[in-house]
Amino acid sequence: MIAMLAKLLKALNSDSAPGQIALAFALGLITGLTPLFSLHNLIVVFFACIIRLNFSAFLLATAFFSGIAYLLDPASVALGESLLTHADYQEFWTGLYQSELFRVMALNNTLILGSLLVAIVAFIPVLLLSRWLVTTYRVKFMAWVEKLKITKLLKASKFYKVYQAIAE
């Protein structure tokens, strides 16, 4: 976990493209908010592997949003339930249900559908927000953070040694 955080900090402090870090966060949002062992997450992991993004940021985001998911799950289930059982959409869902891929992806599950929709809706905002945060951090806060006493203390810690090892 320390190594992972160190890698994230290295990425933040390096010249990695902010979009790569932001995309990792956004993809981690999907794997975090939705049940991990789902077919769509296999696709997300596949993209996370082949796209040059910060994988540590992706894993951290997955862990972070998994925690958030415990709070959001009831709302996700309610959303999925209302959509899947809504009388007006029955024809639509019945049509999709004919597709084996739809069922293999378990999109007729209230939690998976609800949480996936929440994640998809939040994907772009999280992508943009995290990109802005990375850029802003680098421009406005990175130098200021470097000067903080706490940063100096951290630099003297074991954590910093790990960070240095990774940075080299």
Binding site: I51, R52, Q98, R103, A106
Partner: protein, 616 residues
């Protein structure tokens, strides 16, 4: 763009995925084998053994070989075994943990085959022992039931008999009455007394009274004698009453006692149904066992399958109860589809079953094969929205023209409905032992049509078997068997209707046939003969009992009659004696008075004559 693609990541993803797939491919076989054996044993409550399980890639599927499912009731026997099962699996649903098989083909299917080792589960061993003892108890009970009618001695020993009850009462009354009679008779005058009375009368009444004192003395003795005679008369009268009442009582009891064996016999007849209606069901005798055996086998397999059919029904309640607990996992909402995906589904299963050999067929041969096709096997019929249906068709049949079974296990709604239609045509029955009187159905053609429905554990089944060209014979040399065989020779066609209704475990079963009515007369004759034989034996034994109680009482009753008659004679004699002797005494007095009067009269006449002579 190049800087956005990480080729090493792609290779890593492929490598990891390939590793997982290969690992799963190698591990899947043993895992599936373990699952089949473990969960199969739990379901069958007996050992399920699988020789090997392997995965095939093209087409993607699974091959299971050497499967043996032990019979939980008979551990040294396999309920079913098959050599090979090939199933093609759908890959995508498998990723979701759903076992969807388009077609399963079973080969080398056999039922009720012997095992080399016991198929009992270790933890079931104890309960098996219990069930063995229960089986023994059952078989003992069956043997008891199948035993013939109880013997005359057994019947008489176990029943409270009127003959015995009344016999004991008669014996007691007779002893009491005899004592009273003896006491009364002992108080009666004997022959010596009568002689004495006669001599006394003669002495008192013979000769002339010498004087008034003599007369008075004789009269006094005469009165005393009369008094004694009156006492004897009273004793005789009392003895007559005792004897008469005793005789009446004993006569009544004797009549009751004599009627008791007949009443006992009637009671026993009613209780043990020795009449024709109680045992004249030849149909049940002929085919009851066979029907019972097939029903038992059918019920065994139905009970094995039923828990898997009803799981979906219980799921409905479970889902309602556990809504709050499963929110974290959500729930699956199913829609109408032509290709549903339950957790487990076999769209089509095909198997060929070898029928057992017919009665009289040599070892190794059989009645033929039955090709069975089962569609839509799943425990989640609400998902597939299709019932499990099956069709069984006879192939290469010997002695059967056609065999078709259609059935469905519909558990889409609660309660489920299970149906079965059977049509068997042109069955050539040969050398079928009827099981009584050496009767044999030498040959017959049978058409069978049956329907059965099970709803919520309640069965409603009917079947009709039409027998034609029936030829019966009997090797038994008894008169009944010969007569029965003769009667049966006249019957060419008959129907057997079977009916079962009620709880599946213990339905009310009825087998009827027009053969019964046709044979009723002949069969009744047999029953009558058996009944007569038993009745005769019982009668003899009851009569023995009657005689044991009656003894020589009949003779003694006659003796009482004689005694009673002699008492009457004695009473008449005494009365006559007393009256006759008494009148002689009066005559003597009157004669004496008359003689005196005549003497006086004559004297007066003589005096008057003398006076007249003197005057003239």
């Amino acid at each position: 763009m190049k800087q956005w693609i990480r080729w090493s990541g792609l290779l890593g993803f492929i490598a990891i995925t390939a590793l997982l797939v290969l690992g799963w491919m190698f591990a899947a076989g043993p895992l599936i084998k373990y699952s089949i054996e473990t969960f199969g044993s739990q379901a069958a409550k007996a050992k399920v053994e699988v020789e090997d399980v392997s995965l095939t890639l093209s087409p993607f599927g699974i091959e299971v070989t050497g499967v043996q499912v032990a019979n939980s009731d008979k551990p040294m026997e396999n309920a079913i075994q098959f050599d090979r099962a090939i199933a093609d699996l759908e890959l995508l649903p498998l990723l979701l943990g759903k076992g969807i098989m388009n077609e399963v083909v079973l080969t080398g299917v056999e039922f009720s085959t012997p095992r080399q080792s016991s198929g009992a589960l270790v933890n079931e061993a104890a309960s098996d022992e219990d069930s063995d003892s229960n089986t023994e108890k059952d078989s003992t009970t069956t043997e008891k039931i199948s035993q013939s009618l109880p013997s005359a001695d057994e019947t008489l020993a176990r029943e409270p008999l009127l003959t015995e009850q009344r016999g004991r009462k008669f014996q007691s009354s007779f002893t009491e009455i005899k004592a009273d009679s003896d006491k009364a008779i002992s108080a009666l005058p004997d022959s010596k007394d009568f002689t004495s009375y006669e001599e006394e009368f003669n002495r008192l009444t013979s000769g002339e009274f010498k004087s008034l004192e003599d007369f008075q003395q004789r009269k006094k003795e005469f009165d005393a004698l009369k008094k004694r005679i009156k006492q004897d008369q009273k004793a005789i009268s009392e003895a007559k009453t005792v004897l008469s009442e005793g005789k009446d009582s004993l006569t009544q009891q004797w009549a009751d006692l004599k009627a008791a064996p007949g009443q006992d016999l009637n009671n026993l007849k009613n209780k043990y149904s020795l009449d024709g209606a109680g045992a004249a069901n030849l149909t049940r005798l002929m085919f009851g066992d066979a029907a019972g055996e097939w029903s038992e086998k059918g019920l065994y397999w139905y009970e094995k399958i039923r828990p898997f059919l009803t799981s979906e029904e219980s799921d409905i309640d479970d889902n309602n109860e556990d809504v709050t607990n499963v929110r974290r996992e959500g729930r699956f909402v199913h829609f109408e589809t032509d290709r549903p995906l339950p957790d487990f589904l076999i769209r089509k299963m095909q198997l060929m079953v070898k029928l057992p050999k017919a009665q009289g067929q040599p070892e190794g041969e059989s009645l033929g094969n039955v090709a069975i096709t089962v569609l839509d096997i799943t425990h989640q019929q609400k998902v597939t929205n299709k019932p499990i249906t099956f069709v069984a068709t006879g192939e290469k049949l010997t002695d059967i023209q056609s065999l078709i079974l259609n059935g469905s296990l519909d558990h889409r709604s609660v309660p489920g409905t299970d149906t079965l239609d059977v049509s068997v045509k042109g069955v050539s029955l040969k050398d079928y032992n009827v099981g009584a009187m050496g009767l044999k159905l030498d040959s017959s053609q049978i058409d069978i049509a049956g329907k059965a429905q099970v709803i919520a554990g309640e069965v409603d089944a009917t079947s009709k078997a039409q027998f034609s060209k029936a030829i019966f014979s009997s090797k038994d040399s008894t008169l009944v068997a010969k007569e029965m065989a003769k009667a049966l020779q006249k019957i060419d066609r008959f129907d057997i209707d079977a009916y079962a209704k009620g709880a599946l475990i213990a339905p009310k079963v009825d087998i009827s046939s027009d053969l019964d009515s046709k044979l009723n007369t002949a069969f009744n004759q047999r029953i009558d003969e058996k009944q007569d034989e038993l009745e005769k034996t019982i009668k003899e034994k009851l009569n023995d009992k009657l005689l044991a109680y009656a003894g020589d009482y009949q003779d003694q009753l006659k003796a009482m009659d004689v005694a009673n008659g002699s008492l009457n004679d004695k009473q008449d004699q005494l009365e006559s004696l007393a009256k006759s002797e008494l009148s002689s005494f009066q005559d003597q007095e009157e004669a004496k008075l008359k003689a005196e009067a005549d003497k006086k009269k004559k004297q007066l006449e003589d005096d008057l004559k003398d006076k007249f002579n003197k005057l003239f």
